[in-house]
C-alpha cells in the first residue's frame, strides 16, 4: 500500500530524514515511533504530497506521490498533527465540504458524512461551530475528515495527542476497528497504544530507521527481554551467588525493602528461569513472598534504541 524508497528530505543545512526504505502492506496497522524531531511528521507530510522529498521516491496504492500526486491523494486519508480546521464552519458543513472536495459523488455525500459522524461519535456536535469544540472533538472531526472518502490508506499524525485517557481509549478502539478495512500508518508517543493496536512498528531516530518489526519480535530481541524479580529472605545464604549459579541467569542485582531482599535477575533472551529459582528457594528454605517475571515493554525497546548512543 505504501512503498518508500531511499526517501531523503533536507531542510536548509539539516537532514530531516535520511534514506528511508520501508513498505506497508495492505491491511497492516503500522506504528511510527520516534522521539520529537525524529522525522515522523516530515515523512508523513511527504507521503501525503504536502511537501516533496529532496530525493528518493514513494508511492501510495501504486501511484507515485510526485508524478501521480492527485490519484495518490485520493487514495489517502490524512490527518495532520494538531488537526488544523476551519473554525468558522459547522461540523456537518465542514465534512460535506471535505467529502465534495475529495470527490465523493454528490448523491453519496449525505450517507458518507452520516456514516463518519456516527463512527467518530460526532452526532452530538454536528451543528456546532468547529471553533467551539474541545480538543477531543476536533480530533474526531479530523479523523472523520480523513475517513469520509473511504480511502484505502489512512495516515494519522499523532491521533491521540492532547486527549484524556478515556478519549485515548476511544480513539484506540476506533483505530483498531478501522484496521479491519483500512491500511493505517500512525505516529504516536504513547507506547502502550502502539503495542495494543499495531501489527508492525517502525522506530525512527534522527531521520534513520532504527528498527522495523512486529512488536513481539522487537521485544524478543531486547537484551532486557526477560527479567525475574524474586522477593525473599535468604537467611545466612548469599543469595546473589546462589542465584547466579542457575543456568540462563546472566546477572543478579539486589535491593532491600524493610527486611526483605529483592533480587532482580536478568536472564538470557527466551529463557524462563522461574522454575529453577523456585526450586533453589525451596531447597534452601528461603521465605519467598513474590516471584514474578518482568516483561520488557516497548518503552524499554524505545529507550534502548533511541538513546543507545547517549546512555
Amino acid at each position: 500500500m505504501i512503498k518508500v524508497e531511499n526517501l531523503t528530505k533536507r531542510y536548509a543545512g539539516q537532514t530531516a530524514i535520511d534514506n528511508l526504505n520501508f513498505e506497508v502492506g495492505k491491511g497492516e496497522i503500522m506504528g511510527f515511533l520516534g522521539p520529537n524531531g525524529a522525522g515522523k511528521s516530515t515523512t508523513m507530510r511527504i507521503l501525503s504530497s504536502f511537501m516533496p522529498p529532496t530525493s528518493g521516491r514513494a508511492s501510495i496504492a501504486g501511484f507515485d506521490i510526485f508524478e501521480k500526486s492527485l490519484q495518490a491523494r485520493s487514495h489517502l486519508g490524512y490527518m495532520p498533527e494538531n488537526v488544523p480546521l476551519y473554525n468558522d464552519m459547522r461540523v456537518t458543513e465542514y465534512l460535506d465540504y471535505r467529502a465534495a472536495l475529495k470527490g465523493v459523488p454528490h448523491r453519496r455525500i449525505n450517507e458518507r458524512v452520516g456514516d463518519v459522524k456516527e463512527l467518530c461519535g460526532l452526532k452530538d456536535v454536528e451543528k456546532k461551530l468547529i471553533g467551539a469544540l474541545s480538543k477531543g472533538y476536533r480530533q474526531r472531526v479530523g479523523l472523520a475528515d480523513a475517513l469520509v472518502h473511504e480511502p484505502d490508506l489512512l495516515i494519522l499524525d499523532e491521533p491521540t495527542s492532547g486527549l484524556d485517557p478515556n478519549q485515548i481509549r476511544q480513539v484506540r478502539e476506533l483505530i483498531k476497528n478501522l484496521g479491519r478495512q483500512h491500511t493505517i500508518l500512525l505516529s504516536t508517543h504513547i507506547l502502550p497504544e502502539v503495542e495494543m493496536t499495531c501489527s508492525r512498528i517502525i522506530i525512527i531516530n534522527k531521520g534513520k530507521i532504527e528498527a522495523c518489526d512486529t512488536p513481539e519480535n522487537l521485544l524478543g530481541q531486547m537484551r532486557t527481554a526477560t527479567g525475574v524479580v524474586l522477593e525473599a529472605k535468604t537467611g545466612n545464604d548469599n543469595g546473589i551467588e546462589e542465584l547466579k549459579k542457575i543456568a540462563g541467569v546472566r546477572d543478579v542485582s539486589l535491593t532491600t525493602e524493610e527486611d526483605w531482599q529483592i533480587f532482580s535477575l536478568r536472564a538470557e533472551a527466551g529463557a524462563d528461569v522461574r522454575p529453577e529459582v523456585f526450586r533453589l528457594a525451596s531447597q534452601r528454605h528461603w521465605a519467598v513472598r513474590a516471584l514474578t517475571q518482568r516483561r520488557a515493554t516497548l518503552e524499554d525497546v524505545f529507550v534502548e534504541i533511541t538513546h543507545a548512543d547517549e546512555v
Binding site: 504536502f50 495532520p80 488544523p84 480546521l85 464552519m89 470527490g103
Partner: protein
C-alpha cells in the same frame, strides 16, 4: 470543475462568516452613500456639464473608499490558511494548485461584486424621486460598472499575490495597500509634475484609472483598459500560482 466550485462556494461563504465582511460592507455603503448624497446636493439647482452617475464614479470619496477595500478583502485569502495550518488538509486533498488560486480569486471577486450591487439602488431611487435620468445613457452605466469590474479584478489579483507571500494578514494587507496605492497614483503623476514631456504624460495617462474611469463612465467603451486590466490580472494570477507552488520548495 466540481472541485473548483466546491472550493469557490467555501470561499464565498467564509466571507459572510467573518465580521470583516460586514465591516467592509457597512463602511463601503456609508462612504458611497455619503458620496452620492454630496454629489446630488451639490448639483441641486445648479447647471453642471455631467450626470449624477458620472459625478458619483469620479469623486474623491469614491476613490478613497475604493483603494481601501482591496487589502481588507484579500489579506486573509492565503495568509489565514498558512497561519491556521488549514493549508495542510487543503493541499493533501486531491485538488490542484490552480484550482485553489482561482477559487480564492473568484471568491474575492464575487464578494467585491456584491459590494457594488446596492449602489445600483441609488440610481433607481434618484430616478424615482426626481423623475430625471441619473445617467445620460445605458452605456454610461455599463461603462462605469465595467471599469469597476476590470479594476477590481486587477487589484484583487494583486491582493491575492500579496497574501500568498506571507502568513501574516497584516503584512499582506500593507503590501497590497502599498502596491495598489502606488499604481493608482501613477496615474496622478501627470497632474503633479507639470513640466514632464507630453509623451511621458500620455504614457502615464494610459495607466491612469481616473482618466479611464472618466472615459468609460461617459459611456465610451474604450478597449484599451479592457486589454490592460485583463492581461495584468492574468499575469498576477500566474505569479500567485507560481508563488503558491514555491511554498513546497521553500519548506
Amino acid at each position: 470543475m466540481r472541485k473548483f466550485f466546491t472550493l469557490l462556494t467555501r470561499e464565498i461563504r467564509s466571507y459572510f462568516y467573518s465580521p470583516i465582511a460586514y465591516i467592509v460592507l457597512v463602511f463601503f455603503l456609508l462612504v458611497s452613500g455619503v458620496d452620492f448624497y454630496f454629489q446630488v446636493s451639490f448639483m441641486n439647482g445648479r447647471a453642471v456639464p455631467y450626470s449624477v452617475q458620472e459625478a458619483f464614479f469620479n469623486s474623491v470619496f469614491f476613490w478613497f473608499a475604493f483603494v481601501l477595500i482591496f487589502p481588507l478583502i484579500t489579506m486573509r485569502l492565503f495568509a489565514e490558511e498558512f497561519k491556521l495550518g488549514t493549508i495542510e488538509p487543503l493541499m493533501t486533498a486531491p485538488v490542484r494548485d490552480w484550482q485553489v488560486v482561482l477559487s480564492k480569486f473568484f471568491g474575492a471577486l464575487v464578494f467585491y461584486i456584491t459590494l457594488w450591487i446596492p449602489t445600483l439602488l441609488y440610481f433607481v431611487i434618484f430616478q424615482l424621486v426626481t423623475k430625471q435620468p441619473a445617467a445620460n445613457s445605458l452605456g454610461a452605466y455599463l461603462g462605469s460598472y465595467l471599469m469597476l469590474l476590470l479594476l477590481g479584478m486587477f487589484y484583487i489579483s494583486i491582493g491575492c499575490f500579496a497574501s500568498v507571500l506571507t502568513k501574516n494578514q497584516i503584512v499582506a494587507a500593507i503590501v497590497s495597500f502599498c502596491a495598489i496605492t502606488l499604481l493608482f497614483f501613477l496615474g496622478l503623476v501627470a497632474f503633479v509634475l507639470q513640466d514632464i514631456s507630453s509623451s511621458t504624460r500620455q504614457l502615464l495617462g494610459y495607466f491612469s484609472a481616473i482618466e479611464q474611469m472618466g472615459t468609460l463612465s461617459r459611456g465610451e467603451i474604450d478597449t484599451r483598459p479592457i486589454v490592460l486590466y485583463t492581461s495584468m490580472t492574468i499575469l498576477m494570477l500566474v505569479l500567485t500560482h507560481q508563488a503558491f507552488q514555491s511554498r513546497k520548495w521553500r519548506l
